[in-house]
Amino acid sequence: MVQAFYEAPAYHLILEGILILWIIRLLFSKTYKLHETYKLTEKEKEDLIEEWQPDPLVPPISKDHPSLNYDVVTGPPSHKIIINGKECINFASFNFLGLLDNERVKQKALASLKKYGVGTCGPRGFYGTFDVHLELESRLAKFMKTEEAIIYSYGFATIASAIPAYSKRGDIIFVDEAACFSIQKGLQASRSFIKYFKHNDMEDLERLLKEQELEDQKNPRKARVTRKFIVVEGLYINTADVCPLPELVKLKYKYKVRIFLEESMSFGVLGEHGRGVTEHFGVNIDDIDLISANMENAVASIGGFCCGRSFVIDHQRLSGQGYCFSASLPPMLAAAAIEALNIMEEDPGTKCCSVHSNLTPGLRLVGVPFAPALHLQLDRSSGSRDSDMQLLRNIVDYCMQRQVALTLARYLEKEERFLPPPRYVNVGGNHASWVGCSQRFQSDPWDELAKCKNSTVKAVELIVVAVPHTDQYDLQSNNNSRRTDKKE
């Protein structure tokens, strides 16, 4: 070996020496560092910051955006309403029982105002609980024949807070496609797994439940902690359909799913005593886990409530966000709601009269005949949502000029999960149910009733007249006439 070393030529040795050194270098040299080249210098960072241009906070809105300029109502929004200075018969507010301008309700509210002032200046936990709140809660529970009720200070926040109080990440909610916007917000806040079933389609719901059952059998450990809920509306605000509650209750026990029922449109309207869908179908109210409704439609006050068994409802007192973290309902509004409940209890009377038969070609009334909000929709769409909306808007304007206030159902088109069909005029059934309440409250009920019937017919006639007119209606001139109306 040593011999070989001496015999080897010098160039060979040098070459080998270099090779060895090269190998050592390769072994010990640091590997090529990727991140070093990516690391930005302070200068580069500054440039990036300088370069960044954010979008405007809100996109610009054109001045004539259809939902930008609100109609201004002067005076109370009761049976007669003054919209943009024009007196109309009100077919557009959800004042189903006509309690909005009821003298007894007003007097109670005034008495409460004299005692408590307006605001509560605190959430329920911190001296924001008034004796009136406790009274209203027990009255609501008694009215609905449930163990307990809880009130919220804002109708929209009621179901939107109630859903995430129970349903958490990982839980499953089965929900009707036509569910209203506040339910959708509740679902979103819960961060649960949402499964939509076709509107009022119990077969579709059962299919989803079966699918889930199979899934559960595969993973029983997970299934033991996954809560399941069905969220439906009693009377859908978007379609005026009633949910098939008896079938839902059957499915509930079959698949062990809890039912949350949103009754804002049906509370005070459906059922013999106005207890809503459960009474309408004769379903035992204990079979529904949670019922939520707002007190802004039939009750004609502000706020909302949830009712059910104490086991369910009490949980919201610490975990309902809209309950814990928000100021409580002004006592005068609670007092008004109590008086409204008194009136509803004293005389349950008829709730609605049907105007279904009176409609004619061009427009179609959808939903169940006893719905207090009448939804009119175009028989055939012109093809685009925008032009349909414009046509309906023209009908509304036409009626408004003839002193009948209707309203277009408003939606945030980009926000809705399933946008309701574009062809809706939503006629709040104030009028129709006003017939019911006038029977109860006016001194000369038949007179009032006759007057109402007349105006119903008048409204329907107007719509009928409006349809052919608006077909050829020059949009431009209509807009102009509207503007001049406003100036006056």
Partner: protein, 537 residues
Amino acid sequence: MRERHDQSHAYDGKANCIMPIQGGQHHGGLYKRPFVESFEETPMLVAVLTYMGYGILTIFGYLRDFLRQWKIERCHIAREKEEQRDFVPLYQDFENFYTRNLYMRIRDNWNRPICSVPGAKMDLMERASHDYNWTFEYTGRVVHDVINLGSYNYLGFAENTGPCAESAAEVTVKYGVGVASSRQEIGNLDRHEEMEKLVAKFLGVESAMAFGMGFATNSMNIPALTGKGCLILSDELNHASLVLGARLSGSIIRVFKHNNMQSLEKLLREAIVHGQPRTHRPWKKILIVVEGIYSMEGSIVRLPEVIALKKHYRAYLYLDEAHSIGALGPRGRGVVDYFGLDPCDVDVMMGTFTKSFGAAGGYIAGKRLIEYLRSHSHSAVYATSMSPPVVEQIITSMKCIMGEDGTTIGCERVRRLAENTVYFRKRLREMGFIIYGNKDSPVVPMMLYMPAKIGAFGREMLKRNIGVVVVGFPATPIIESRARFCISASHSRELLDKVLGAICEVGDVLQLKYSRHRIQPSLVRPFDDSVYEDIDD
């Protein structure tokens, strides 16, 4: 009683302000008045004892749960319906461990029902519990004239007499209490329009929009402003409604340390430099969300610095003035007025009417913003508009603060609130209590620390006919339980002296005078690393 020297706490904002890493300006110069904020460190012994207290409570909790399980102790909890026993439990039993074993013991300190105006003094309904707070029974008696340190009645507009109540009554007679329609349909009353114009004028901005609930104002409008591809930088102590709104928006949320401008700047720089996670696309927009006064800490946002940062990094600023509007600033215009800044520098001004104005609801105000909200806010489309008498209360009280009613009552109230606040905070500190927050903040948190003292303090104060708010976990970090006083312009000096006397007495009995009299630089408040986002309102 130990004597304290107040000046040891006072220092000027200049000395303690941090130089921004890049901005190059000296931010101390941004403050026109000294910015004094203190968060005295928790004494070590107290912290250890507090943890021990929770430990003992937990052990006893388990013991009692065990007894309940074997039916040795009676169980009062509402039970699931028989037919639904085999359903997945609606809420897990262990989730309620805290409620069952800790909260239940001192539950009588919350939800105390009142039966009068929530003014400087209020009447409480007396209630008794024969089963250790599981159920309450109303005795039918009324505890009269309890001094109210709990309601957010900063300017004393919770009144049942006077111009506000009178005009609200008139409106009730004319309009009724409900509206039964949304703003976009036919629930837009002339009163609403008038109020919104007034709010805009009051705040000194272009336009404003009002909503029926303060909580929903945040949770329903943040999603209208930001969405996917946007970044929300949120203070760790932001209110639950802001947190919910940010979540609903679908934006990415990053949390910075409470009122810590270094933390905020670091997040801003990183966000802009690195862009969105994974895709590295630049952010569409960045929204900084802060509150004016933090209702649990009593701290005031470092608004001049936030605005400087926001301008430098081109972010947008969402300022929630729920507690500060009306309650801060020489003219009662909130935190912007307090620092003497231009309201136009704040992109989104949000506030509530519940507190200083004695009404209900919230507003959003700003430049070029309202038109968009009027057409795109969830609330305008789907929620019922505000009740007319509530709107009237806002109009009348706001006009009073602005002096538009021809009197100086409003001005005086704003001034009296500021005086009361400074006086009350100064006296408490002199007594040796640990008080958190800014010297000008009418929200005064006083540290109790130990869980047993939460209940004891609330009850002892009620014995002396004073109603206070006490809060513990989860509204605060676990060891930082506290009592909170809300000062009002309607409190007279004698009333405050009476309260201070009582607090001093109770403080001696319960040994609450923890303060060790140390100088605390403002920014090194002891952070506990766990981020707790949901502070109670």
